[in-house]
């Protein structure tokens, strides 16, 4: 046996060494090795021991499963990484999680190719070409951490010495909840108002509707297993945000118990498994939603335990007729009659059919089915209907359907977040000197809160307008930006009309970028710092919801970093603080030293201790039995790290009925909350709400401003010149924009319905393609009024004629050897953002991605 094995190994080695094996010698060695194979065949007697158990941590294998967190998308699943000899070898869902459990997803595995991506920056580097531009090779050279940190600290000190700390800017990309160390505390203590997050290119408009109806600014969880009807709007939970893993695991059961309908111009992964596909024209979701609301009311299908009823029980919601508000006694809602009279009474299925392109019969069928399932009837708001110019009101309209059927906070309905007990970091106030306080008072570079950018995250200017920061920088409005740091962001790729960011970044005299890969953003940086990867190299935590639970899931260093990576939100700010201290400014380091280890009371003395202590500090209420407040209980820190995740108590259904944080404490169809906040914004600018709406490009005037309603889409480009509407969407393999350097991404790209492996395709309806003389595989150029890209044509019936669907994710011209055809020069495929103009849903501050531009197609 041993001899055979050796022989076999030798032969394998020969083959590995790629020695020219002729067919003859191959045969010879093969027959010589026959013996070993026979032995293998006969001694192989597997027994079935533990197949009933889904998995086991100890049986077989040399490795161990370590708790982790996946941040490939914002599902933020609790995960486990299989470690063999210090290497990360596999990834799976963390069975200890009550949110996602052992369920993973396809994109989670790509984390392995990210961790060991050879194109990761292994050491700090600096540019040696002083000229900055898309066509200027930065000519990066490696430098030491010491040199990199000294340079950054010198630049910050320059601002401090010149009393111009407001010219410092921090740009945040993918974060953990350690974010405030770098994003908030460091920016404040240096003395700048300009900490700019990515949130408005994520989904702020999606939070607008839920906030101005039920005072919840956040992502919802949907109780799919108990629902009887699931109506999705531009959400694709089997492929992209949020809780893809949980919904993938639950969908097979949801299909059995619920009817599933989806409004979406493209046959998405979720549409592929739906009972009803409503292929709405882009930008018409709001019309469909109000028509469904109209039918629910005229058919008497509202949920009376939640909404209330006419005092005599007679349904007066008759198409075209006003209703006397006195006749309706509302329970847990506000303004159903006002909404009817102002918007809904004429919004029939026939009216909506003309606008949406969905047949009236289908609209009626879906509306009635949805209403009959009340209150276990989900109206699932995705980014599609609301990340549009004027999307705020569609966001409200779609979410308000949940109010009509009483699905809000209810079994089989739409749920908010469970309570969790993490703590905030120590306050920075005592460490902010006069320079910092003065600096912080300046206006923000993204213009939030200005008349034309209400960004009404709970209050005027409460939200960020991420993409507009480029214009702020370019126009030096309100001031120039001299020193900037970005981390795990790539606005030159992820923001629409990225060419503005290229010019903006080129204009910043000193830019540092903390990143795993040299991205399109790094291209403009003076210093690039190598970041740790979230899956296996850093301390941190995130919170997420699903399955009626909330989880706090930990990241911890599982493998030794291959190269000189440091963690963006903790280690790097500490290291910068140390340098600032050496240069005479100790406030930041002094502040960080207050993040003491809760177990020993010891202040951190280096970046590693700081990363650990700050996490222990923030999560102490979860792992310290003496501080226990609810949910899972642990014996202490070690126990928490081993388990990897804290789960909340189960969701308390209907607890918020009548106790919402809206102005009226009720679910608002007529939003007194929005009326108040919009009023504040108008007052701040000495004008009227109508003028605010006019400046911000909404159609609503008067009372319409405060109710969910349909607004016509605002789509760039003349229909004659640009005949198609662009439909942007996400891939189930996208790890945000960061999987493009993984070969698995391309080898499996066809798991996205309609897409093709190793290609970046624009999906065109065959009917449209025929008119253009296009066939599968043709190289084409898509052009919008604001830019163009080249990609490949794919003829597909799963797209609405008159639209072209293209997936976001490819089109990198940097990032790595696979992501781009030629690093720094030629992109692989085309990035959708090159087509999309920089437009906003100004009420939420959200960047518009959908129904935002028309395009034309040319064969190249």
């Amino acid at each position: 046996m041993k001899e055979n094995k050796t022989k076999r190994k030798t032969m394998m080695k020969d083959l590995f060494d790629d020695i020219k094996v002729t067919r003859r010698s191959f045969m010879k060695s093969a027959s010589a090795a026959t013996g070993s194979a026979v032995v293998l065949g006969t001694t192989f007697k597997p027994t079935l021991r533990a197949l009933a158990e889904a998995s086991e941590t100890s049986a077989g294998g040399a490795g161990t499963w370590e708790s982790a967190t996946c941040q490939g998308c914002t599902s933020w699943c609790s995960a486990q990484v299989y470690v063999v000899d210090g290497r990360a070898v596999k990834v799976r869902g963390n069975p200890n999680s009550k949110v996602n459990g052992s369920a993973g997803c396809p994109r989670s595995h790509l984390a392995l190719q990210q961790i060991y991506d050879p194109d990761r920056i292994k050491t700090p580097m600096k540019r040696t070409n002083p000229k900055k531009g898309r066509n200027e090779d930065p000519q990066f050279v490696p430098i030491s951490w010491d040199e990199a940190l000294n340079t950054i600290a010198d630049k910050i000190m320059e601002l401090r010495n010149n009393n111009e700390t407001h010219k410092y800017m921090l740009m945040r990309g993918r974060y953990t909840y350690m974010r405030d160390v770098l994003y908030d505390r460091m920016t404040k203590i240096i003395g700048s108002p300009n900490n700019i997050s990515h949130s408005a290119i994520c989904a702020e408009a999606e939070k607008f509707g839920p906030y101005y109806t039920e005072a919840y600014w956040g992502y919802r969880q949907y109780d799919v297993k108990r629902a009887r009807y699931i109506l999705l709007w531009g959400a694709d939970p089997l492929a992209a945000n949020r809780q893809v893993s949980y919904y993938s695991s639950a969908w097979g059961d949801a299909i059995d118990s619920a009817t599933i309908a989806i409004a979406e111009p493209r046959l998405s992964a979720t549409a592929a498994k739906a009972d009803e596909w409503l292929p709405v024209k882009p930008g018409s979701d709001g019309a469909l939603a109000v028509a469904i609301a109209h039918i629910l009311l005229t058919e008497g299908l509202w949920y009376k335990d939640f909404v209330g009823d006419f005092i005599d029980g007679e349904n007066r919601f008759v198409a075209g007729q006003y209703v006397d508000a006195e006749m309706f006694e509302e329970k847990h809602t506000n303004g159903i009659v006002a909404w009817w009279n102002l918007e809904l009474k004429d919004k029939t299925a026939e009216w909506a059919a003309k606008i949406t392109g969905v047949p009236a019969e289908q609209i009626k069928r879906v509306a009635v089915g949805y209403g009959q399932a009340a209150p276990h009837a989900i109206s699932w708001l995705g980014g599609g209907p609301c990340m549009q110019v004027r999307g705020a009101y569609a966001s409200m309209a779609v979410h308000a359907l949940n109010g009509i059927v009483g699905a809000v906070d209810n079994i089989g309905g739409t749920l908010t977040s469970n309570k969790e007990y993490t703590s905030k970091f120590p306050k920075p106030d005592d460490f902010m000197d006069e320079i910092a306080k003065t600096g912080k008072k300046h206006g923000k570079i993204d213009h939030r809160g200005r008349l034309e950018f209400p960004a009404l995250n709970k209050k005027p200017g409460g939200g960020v307008v991420t993409n507009n920061a480029a214009d702020g920088i370019l126009n030096a409005d309100p001031n120039e930006i001299k020193v900037a740091i970005g981390y795990m962001n790539n606005f030159t790729f992820s923001c629409p009309q990225p060419e503005r960011w290229e010019r903006a970044l080129a204009k910043i005299p000193f830019l540092a970028h903390i990143t795993t890969n040299a991205s399109e953003f790094s291209w403009f940086a003076d210093i690039v710092l190598p970041d740790t990867h979230h899956m296996a190299e850093k301390w941190g935590y995130v919170k997420s919801i699903g399955n009626g639970y909330r989880q706090v899931t930990l990241m911890h260093p599982i493998v030794e970093p291959v190269w000189e990576y440091q963690t963006d939100e903790t280690e790097i700010p500490w290291l910068i603080a140390e340098k600032l201290n050496e240069k005479g400014f100790s406030n930041l380091l002094d502040h960080y030293k207050t993040y003491k280890d809760p177990e020993t009371g010891k202040a951190p003395t280096n970046e590693k201790e700081f990363a650990l202590y700050s996490l222990k500090y923030a999560t102490q209420n979860l792992w310290d039995p003496a501080k226990y407040k609810g949910g899972d209980k642990f014996n202490g820190w070690e126990d928490f790290v081993k388990t990897g995740v804290w789960n909340s108590d189960p969701y308390p259904y209907r607890k918020r009925w009548g106790k919402m944080k809206t102005k009226t404490t009720k679910f608002e169809f007529y939003s007194e909350t929005l009326k108040d906040v919009l009023g504040q914004h108008a007052e701040k600018h000495n004008t009227t709400v109508d003028n605010v709406l006019e400046v911000c490009n909404y159609q609503a005037r008067g009372e319409m401003a405060f109710i969910p309603h349909y607004e016509e889409p605002f789509i760039a480009g003349d229909e004659k010149e640009y005949p198609f509407i662009h439909v942007d969407h996400k891939s189930r393999l996208n790890r945000e924009g960061r999987s493009a350097n993984c070969t698995w991404y391309y080898d499996f790209k066809d798991v996205d319905p309609g897409d093709v492996a190793w290609q970046d395709v624009a999906k065109i309806n065959p009917q449209d393609a025929k008119g253009l003389g296009l066939k599968d595989g043709d190289k084409i150029r898509l052009t919008s009024p604001s830019g163009s890209l080249t990609c490949t044509a794919k003829l597909w019936e799963g797209v609405r004629p008159g639209t072209v669907a293209k997936c976001y994710g490819q089109g990198h011209w940097a990032y790595g050897r696979v992501a781009s055809i030629e690093f720094g020069k030629i992109p692989r495929g085309g990035s959708s953002n090159d087509l999309i103009p920089a437009q906003y849903d100004r009420l939420s501050g959200s960047t518009a991605y959908y129904a935002t531009t028309r395009i034309k197609i040319e064969k190249v």
Partner: protein, 241 residues
């Protein structure tokens, strides 16, 4: 002796491909080779159109054409029903690949994992080369190489031989599930012993009418499909006027 089989519940399947990517990972399969794969199909004309997804893998046939046609017995059946391959015996004639009616056997035309053999760095001194990365972490060719695959089959199959799904025999041997089964987020794959009437696979095959791929040709495939990927209802009419 067990007779292993797999039931794939298409209603539970969400068509995500996690099975296939996880398989790549578990078995150190090179790019372009799919032990686990799929058949997708878009049927109909807008707006009456549906997309279908059928996961595929080696059918571990009862009457396996790949085994019957193999001149060296490299492709062989194990007593537990697994169709196994022995690269030591393989002469690379590819008869099995041609004989397989399911297209699930692949030939290694090149030295596998070309990507990881490259010794060029993208940015000199500041990034590593793929080969350097693998060497630095002490892995065999691929940095995330799974050594457990090597327990019953060369961890990475050499150039000049075929390879295919083994039902993760190296895991099954240890009482673990095939990795695609474990990695399926939708629990759409059910693996077990067909000779045991109480096993989950036996129970499901008694409960649902299964279908198998090209079963009419007599290969006795042991991958069974139940239910439908798409559950859509329709309005019943008399003859559909």
């Amino acid at each position: 002796m067990p007779r292993y089989a797999m039931v794939i519940d298409l209603q539970r399947c969400v068509g995500c491909g996690a099975c296939s990517i996880a398989c790549r990972n578990e078995n150190n399969v090179p790019d372009g080779i799919y032990w686990s794969n799929k058949i997708t199909e878009t049927r109909g004309t807008f707006p009456n159109v549906r997309y279908h997804y059928i996961p595929t893998l080696c059918n571990h046939c009862g009457n396996a054409p790949c085994v019957r046609g193999c001149p060296t017995n490299a492709m062989h059946k194990l007593d537990n029903g697994i169709t196994m391959h022995d690269p030591d015996k393989c002469i690379g004639c590819k008869y099995c690949e041609f004989n397989c009616p399911y297209g699930v056997i692949y030939f290694n035309w090149r030295k596998p994992h070309q990507f990881w053999r490259d010794d060029k760095a993208l940015i000199k001194g500041a990034t590593s080369a793929p080969a350097e990365e693998a060497k630095k972490v002490g892995a065999k060719v691929v940095p995330y190489y799974n050594p457990e695959r090597d327990e019953t089959l060369p961890g990475i199959r050499p150039k000049g031989v075929v390879e295919k799904c083994t039902f993760c025999d190296h895991r099954v041997k240890k009482g673990q599930l095939p990795y695609c089964v474990e990695a399926c987020p939708a629990d759409a794959r059910i693996f077990g012993d067909l000779s045991d009437p109480k096993s989950q696979v036996s129970v499901l095959l008694g409960k649902f009418r299964p279908f198998r791929l090209r079963e009419q040709i007599g290969t006795e495939p042991h991958i069974f499909y139940i239910r439908d990927f798409n559950p859509a209802h329709y309005q019943p009419t008399k003859g559909g006027v």
